[in-house]
């Protein structure tokens, strides 16, 4: 029996920070100290606090080590595992300012205190490649309960009653989707999982597949039983190699244990699950395009109705849910619909996973009950904005969503509230922006993304978004007029109303939302020809303040375009020389600003 467990995060964030080597080193050091029989090492999924990765947790103490390097491993093994002394200098510190060294158990950190982990319950706790550990944490108990004691209709009733809504973004009631698919007439039905997470900055589904793949497999099997299907597909993008690998390992183990296959647990129920890899087109996250892609065709959407529940994959009734939606199912079956419905707001039940990114201290993955305010997520859990900057807006829903300004920070997060303030839940990407971000530039970034990713099938999306981007570019170049802003707004509504699929229907949202809340920034670009945040290069002007300049010449030496020239050689007594910026040559890189030690260079 092991007396210590060493958990090393193997999520993508920590993995790219060398966590595989760290695990290797742990195994080597443990061997060198003859502790193989005392200490167990486990590679887990994402712990969530990606900002301080690579992360290692040592139980039973629950010591939470962060930013570990391969060189630190020897010390942890020799001090902690051999001598039992926690290596304080490597422990996580909640407050970097006071650097209070203490054992911060994971659950004690500010980051975790306000979270409720349902979909992420096993992420960072179990070894995702070991089915036995999943079983230990009540894994496949829901499947056993369903197959031995519930009828398909009873299963659907529980999901309906729980109030679970689709976590992919649109928020359609999951139970109703299941009911439609069950009631649809068809000899063959399919159950699919949408793991084609494409929003820039979103990694919720990826982390669930990497940290707890069996939860998705089990839930899909339950869904198959409920709707009467024997074949399932997980559509996951090939850009998620770790998720794909762990999912495949999990499917293989489930097949070996008879938890998938022709006679599941000897009950006679048959369900086979396969993985289909997507090439990374954003439009394939749209349900009809996703199914066309699984069929082996070019991933293009088609008009609805017919909805997939009636005519989906290969023309058969198909149930399609998102990864996070599935990750909630087993807990709902085990703990009951009332338990799930007790969390959240009136119309949005349960919890939601968000991927925190952008200008925030604790970049990472969080799961909060619906109804938590954005302020709690950003300030308490996320640790606020770094470098003492001021919050400007939060972007939710990726390229389909909008931004939320500071005045709405106290809005409880749920599907309907976010729509009411001009954004949307989306799949859960949450990008925080501070005063250094230009909102016009942000809108342009997202629109560039959707223009690239538009499949081109329908005209409003293909051409409309392109024209919209051209108008936005005019704004950032300082050549737009106020009429152009009105034209943009009109075009946005036109694209929304006439596009074929969700991609086009939501693509103008970032533009609309920024026009709504940050119109003054647009007007500054158009009328005053300035970018208040100092981002849009064509509108930037760097200036040297003659009074502050001491004439050291650092700016001129660091200018890559040789745009700063010395103008006079007869210096005033305290100056060596004076300098000026040649506007024709200036590429607006900002190198002079960074290198001036006297604050003499300003932009605006």
């Amino acid at each position: 029996m092991f007396r210590s467990h060493v958990l090393v995060c193997g999520g993508t964030g920590c993995h790219s920070n060398n966590s595989a080597k760290i695990l290797e080193e742990f195994n080597a050091q443990i061997k060198a100290n003859n502790l193989e029989e005392d200490v167990m090492t486990v590679q887990t999924g994402c712990f969530g606090l990606c900002a301080v990765g690579p992360v290692v947790i040592v139980y039973p103490e629950g010591a939470f080590y962060c930013k570990i390097t391969v060189e630190d491993v020897k010390e942890i093994v020799e001090e902690h595992l051999v001598k039992g002394r926690i290596v304080e200098r490597l422990l996580h510190k909640d407050d970097h300012e006071t650097a209070d060294h203490k054992v911060s158990a994971l659950s004690e950190t500010n980051f975790y205190k306000k979270q409720t982990r349902v979909a992420l319950r096993n992420c960072g706790v179990i070894d995702p490649e070991n089915i036995d550990e999943y079983i230990a944490y009540d894994g496949y108990q829901a499947l056993i309960k369903v197959l031995t004691s519930m009828s398909p209709q009873e299963v659907i009733d529980v999901v309906l009653k729980s109030g679970l809504r689709g976590r992919g973004g649109a928020g359609f009631p999951t139970g109703r989707k299941w009911q439609f698919t069950k009631d649809a007439v068809g000899d063959v039905k399919y159950v699919c999982c949408n793991a084609d997470e494409g929003d820039p900055g979103a990694f919720m589904d990826r982390s669930i597949l990497e940290g707890d793949p069996h939860a998705v497999i089990e839930a899909m099997t339950i869904a198959a039983y409920a709707v009467g299907s024997n074949q399932g597909y997980v559509y996951v993008r090939a850009e998620y190699p770790i998720a794909v690998h762990r999912l495949q390992v999990a499917i293989k183990q489930a097949n070996e244990y008879g938890l998938l296959g022709d006679n599941i647990l000897g009950t006679g129920f048959k369900f086979n699950l396969e993985v289909r890899l997507g090439a990374g087109a954003f439009v394939c996250g749209e349900e009809t395009a996703l199914m066309t892609s699984i069929e082996g065709k070019r991933g293009e959407p088609r008009p609805r109705p017919p909805f997939p529940a009636n005519k989906g994959l290969f023309g058969k009734p198909t149930l399609l849910n998102n990864v996070e939606t599935y990750a909630n199912i087993c807990q709902i079956i085990l703990k009951g619909a009332d338990w799930f419905a007790s969390m959240g707001t009136e119309k949005s039940k349960g919890t939601k996973v968000f991927a925190l990114g952008g200008k925030i201290v604790n970049t990472g993955l969080v799961e909060i009950p619906m109804g938590t305010t954005l302020r709690t997520v950003i300030e308490d859990i996320g640790g606020g904005i770094p470098n003492g900057k001021k919050f400007k807006a939060a972007q939710t829903g990726g390229p389909s969503g909008g931004c939320i300004p500071a005045e709405h920070l106290d809005t409880p997060i749920d599907y309907d509230n976010l729509v009411a303030i001009g954004s949307m839940m989306g799949s859960g990407g949450l990008i925080v922006m501070d005063e250094d971000n230009c909102m016009v530039d942000i809108a342009k970034f997202f629109l560039e993304f959707t223009v690239d990713e538009s499949c081109g099938k329908c005209t409003p999306c293909r051409i409309g978004n392109k024209r919209l981007l051209e108008l936005l570019t005019k704004v950032t170049d300082g050549t737009a007029t106020l009429e152009d802003l009105d034209k943009m707004e009109k075009l946005c509504h036109y694209i929304k109303a006439n596009s074929l699929c969700g991609l086009g229907q939501t693509a103008p949202n970032p533009v609309l939302a920024t026009l709504r809340y940050f119109r003054d920034e647009y007007i500054a670009h158009v009328v005053d020809k300035t970018c208040p945040a100092g981002v849009c290069k064509k509108l930037l002007n760097f200036k040297i303040d003659k009074d502050k300049c001491i004439g050291c010449g650092m700016c001129a030496r660091n200018c890559p375009a040789s745009a700063i020239v010395r103008t006079d050689y007869i210096a005033p007594s305290h100056k060596l020389a004076s300098f000026a910026i040649d506007k024709e040559k200036c590429v607006k890189c900002g190198a002079c600003l960074q290198n001036c030690k006297f604050g003499a260079i300003s932009k605006g």
């Binding site: 007396r3 139980y59 039973p60 001598k83 039992g84 002394r85 659950s107 244990y257 008879g258 938890l259």
Partner: protein, 123 residues
Amino acid sequence: MKSIADIKAIREKMQSEIIMRDNKDVEEIRVVVGMATCGISAGARPVYNALVEEVLKRNLKNVKIARTGCLGMCKLEPIVEVYVPNQEKVTYCHVTPEKAVNIVVNHLVNGKVCTEYLVGSEE
């Protein structure tokens, strides 16, 4: 292929192994073993292992076992301290793996302090 009973058996077997990773906020009993050089050379490691094994075997979810450094009374090592919430700390000395098992059974499970191993009885 596994049957439902097999899955149940795996679950029970594995649960006793991973119980260590539960870090819930329950009223917990802390058992601390002195494991500095003095403790280790006096045989604290087998004591620690015996404690862990016995606690896992008995599925005591509210007991947390931790290692600590030198407690200052090196000649009395191996030392085991038990912290029960709202009670005075209890310090055992010259603990052996056998005594450790008795401490788990009598003190942690039944709430009876093993007076014969107490630090006071040595002095």
